[in-house]
């Protein structure tokens, strides 16, 4: 079966328009998808920007082995203070994984999606990965199954993926040019040999593209993840986006490189720069003309549990689930009730047109605002926010741009145990760091702001705003935008000082 190419549909023109100038009426990136695909993904927290506020996902770490090396990855994966792909606290056997999934599903009925994402490559661990899927599809039919892969062995497992009723696959594709690939992948393990450099990258790319085509031919949904690596594949990702779209991928998720020396990765140690939030946004916007882009990814751990942006893994460690008694038949009944309630709520929301900036003069410039939000409302104290949601307000309306984390992944050297590594950035206070994270934003909306951050925010040119606590985010952002517009500051002539 061939999936329709997203921008060849009637919605294409709309999609291009939304991406370039902001779109007040699109519920999120998925609105451009054909109906039959949207129906499959709109309740999936990792694909749908609205669903991720309500539905939760979990990953089980049953796949430790990997068959390639990426320069952003280090196979030491037991640091509990880090949140990034490839990191886990506890490896599980398939039996332990089933026990954990059933325990979590009974305890957190919002959990609808189970993914196997590592910490290695799931398809480099076919026995452990497919045994987990097989048991789960038999015992918990109300859970959606997903798998992510680097793609190297994907072609040989496409039939097995289809057999286990896994209808979402994520492939990480960072390049389509082996010369670019050689700067990202030092080696692969292929046909009983370690193959270095351009030849290794060439094989990997060939397998990824073949696997992608085979999946979409079978009607299995494919999302493509790409890591944005400045100076290595930044411009190149625009081509990647075009090619994967042409092969039928339904969503492209461009994520920023995480490269810190204390993680011990090649890029971290070689001081490869991470992209700034602006670079990421520009690239996502550039690719968005070609296909649906995903902007709410939280780059979670390979054993994450809960809503995106939170991790309740500590509540479900092996010793804790060992003593839990789960009656899954009963749990499924409770889960159904909760799911129906959420779907009803989402449906109601989908019928609501997002606030349009009526009355704001054409030509007013857009404004970026950071929101300390939770569950769709302005909810958090400035100092307690673990991440800020970035929204853009313009005369066309309000659109979600990205999230920015405030605490970056690792508690530092004491927590990691690598005492002899350099702790970059330790001299910067958390407050200064958080303010730096908000660069480019002109307003920060939160439930409360303390005196010290208030002064520092103002000094940084970011207006703190605590007047919209508990209001729906988009209404609050639009209200603030209208206030700014009323001062005349958004029109070009009033902006000359700033431009000069």
């Amino acid at each position: 079966m061939e999936l329709p190419v997203i921008s060849n549909t009637a919605a294409a023109a709309e999609s291009g328009g939304c991406a370039s100038s902001g779109c007040g009426t699109a519920p999120d990136a998925l609105s451009h998808l054909p109906d039959h695909i949207r129906a499959k993904v709109q309740d999936h927290p990792c694909y749908s920007e609205e669903a991720h506020h309500y539905f939760a996902r979990m990953h089980v770490a049953v796949a430790p082995a990997c068959n390639i090396q990426c320069n952003y990855c280090n196979r030491k994966y037991d640091c509990s203070n880090e949140s990034r792909p490839g990191v886990v606290s506890e490896l599980l056997t398939p039996d332990q994984a089933i026990k954990k999934v059933l325990a979590v599903a009974a305890e957190i009925p919002q959990m609808t999606v189970l993914g196997i994402a590592g910490p290695g490559d799931p398809l480099a661990n076919p026995g452990r990965t497919f045994e987990t899927f097989e048991q789960l599809s038999a015992r918990a039919p109300d859970i959606k199954l997903c798998v992510s892969t680097n793609g190297l062995t994907l072609p040989q497992y496409v039939d097995e993926i289809a057999k286990h009723n896994i209808d979402h696959v994520t492939i990480t594709i960072n390049c389509v040019d082996p010369e670019v690939g050689a700067k990202i992948y030092p080696w692969i393990f292929w046909e009983n040999k370690r193959i270095f450099g351009i030849e290794g990258a060439r094989i990997l790319i060939e397998q990824q593209q073949k696997g992608l085509q085979m999946l979409t031919d079978r009607g299995i949904l494919v999302k493509v993840n790409s890591v944005l690596i400045p100076g290595v594949n930044d411009e190149h990702l625009k081509e990647v986006s075009k090619i994967v779209k042409a092969k039928g991928a339904f969503l492209h998720n461009v994520m920023p490189l995480i490269a810190e020396a204390e993680h011990g990765t090649y890029y971290g140690i070689m001081e490869q720069p991470e992209p700034t939030p602006e670079m990421l946004q520009d690239l996502q916007d550039a690719c968005a003309g070609d296909m649906a882009m995903m902007r709410h990814c939280r780059q979670c751990r390979a054993d994450a549990v809960g809503l995106l942006g939170e991790d309740r893994g500590d509540e479900f460690t092996l010793d804790k689930i060992d003593v839990m008694e789960v009656d899954y038949e009963a749990a499924m009944v409770r889960r159904k009730v909760v799911h129906d309630e959420i779907l009803e709520k989402l449906d109601a929301q989908r019928g609501v047109v997002k606030p349009k900036a009526t009355g704001i003069p054409e030509g007013s410039r857009p404004v970026l605002m950071a929101v300390a939000g939770k569950n769709g409302v302005v909810a958090e104290h400035f100092g307690h926010a673990k991440e800020f949601l970035i929204y853009e307000a313009s005369p066309e309306g309000v659109r979600f741009i990205s999230h920015r984390k405030t605490e970056l992944y690792c508690g530092g050297m004491d927590a990691c145990g690598d005492g002899d590594m350099v702790d970059a950035g330790a001299t910067e206070s958390l407050l200064d760091r958080n303010i730096r994270v908000l660069e480019g934003c002109e307003v920060v909306l939160c439930s409360k702001v303390g005196y010290e951050p208030w002064a520092k925010l103002e000094a940084a040119g970011i207006a703190p705003n605590g007047e919209h606590a508990m209001e729906p985010i988009e209404e609050a952002v639009m209200a603030v935008y209208k206030e700014i517009a009323a001062t005349g500051k958004l029109l070009p002539q009033a902006d000359t000082l700033k431009v000069a």
Binding site: P64, A65, C66, N67, Q69, N71, R75, K76, Y77, L91, G120, A124, N125, G127, P186, W187, F189, N192, K193, R194, A261, G264, Y266, I269, M270, D418, D420, M421, V422
Partner: protein, 92 residues
């Protein structure tokens, strides 16, 4: 004649799955190679499979204690950087 796993091992299971002799077993603090079963893959493969897939430098050694994947050989990180970060060793 047999290979050995050192304390650098991170227990990622990759070698277990590719060993043609089922010579590798789980142990604490890390996996071990049964030297009665290990053939260094002679007769099966051109390269010892555990060493060909292992992602960790210095984790597999031969009987002389030599690293099959010496520091810098898999990541391409220059030796001076490895020394600076305390990631460099001469031999097991």
């Amino acid at each position: 004649m047999a290979l050995q796993i050192t304390e650098s091992c991170v227990n990622c299971w990759a070698c277990v799955d590719v060993c043609p002799n089922d010579a590798i077993y789980e142990d604490k603090p890390h996996f071990l190679i049964d030297d009665a079963k290990c053939t260094e893959c002679l007769g099966d493969h051109a390269d010892a499979q555990c060493a060909a897939i292992c992602p960790i430098e210095m984790a597999i050694v031969n009987e002389l204690g030599e690293f099959l994947n010496p520091p810098g050989s898999l990541t391409g990180i220059p030796i001076e950087k490895l020394k600076q970060f305390g990631l460099w060793k001469d031999a097991a």
